[in-house]
Amino acid sequence: MAVKNLSVVIPAYNEGQNIGWVIQNAKKYTRNIIVIDDGSQDETFKIALKNGAKVYHHLFNRGLGGALSTGIKAALSDKAEIIVTLDADGQHDPKEIPKLIKPIVEGKADVVIGSRFLVRQSMPLFRKMGNPFFNLVTFLLFGVWSTDSQSGLRAFNRKAAENLETFAGGMEVSSEIIKEIKSHKLRLKEVPIKAIYTAYSLSKGQGLSTGLRTLMKLLILKLTK
């Protein structure tokens, strides 16, 4: 499926190991690959550049939320009509992109979340428990139910991306996006995806301590907004 003005946004922090693979595979669907190097200390910047991505460099690490927002702004100024965000750690196979953007291309949704919980699949126990917990927290705080509120694989149409106003710096951005979907009355659809869990990608996501930090940040977000 060739879609005009599709941009793929990949926030990356020390992802030199996998980012090349992610970019190469995403390239099959679009030429507009945007990588946000979020103050990496490794070769992320060089590798992303070498693989043909357009790279924006954060001088210091600002976290997932900060990088994602930079990427979406960059895609919008590149006149993107559809924006796909995907994790740089290789847990999302870019071949899911056509399925992900289909509801947007067909005009049936403004935002699509690739959910890991719509089909049965093996997932480490900690994730299996942690993700529903954050779905519940997101629902209690912001009033929207998603089967995978923490998924990093998402698609937005231009209207949705323009309306997205996130302030979160870190992982709590995922829940904040859900909140934005509600406050701007965007149409949300979820499509089933398979996540590729490797020892590497597991080491990059949320464990107990980052999970707790995310929880605290979400509470602060709720209280100060």
Binding site: V55, H57, L59, A74, F167
Partner: protein, 115 residues
Amino acid sequence: MALNMTIIQFSIVFLAILMMVKTVLDFRKNKVTLPIFLFWMILWLAIIIVAVLPQVTGLLDKLLSGENRGLDAIVYFSIFFIFYIIFKIIAKLERIEREITEIIRHLALKNPKKK
């Protein structure tokens, strides 16, 4: 009466005066704004008064309940106040974090790299 001060009273007064001197110096170096300066000065002064004349807490008793609970009220109020300050600091920190992100984003967007 001042001569009958206990060691604890004496150290509280000594530390409070020290903090007041530091606050004055900070204020003169423009490190703190006038409202903050006044706030700390009044706070330290109040601490000195309570330390030297614990009887003044009796005034609070009359104001609050009539019972002998003035010191308790001060402790409750202090804890509440500390939580309030912590919350304010967290909120401020959060705002500063966002502002830093804005600056970093601004710089990044101005300068895309492509081979």
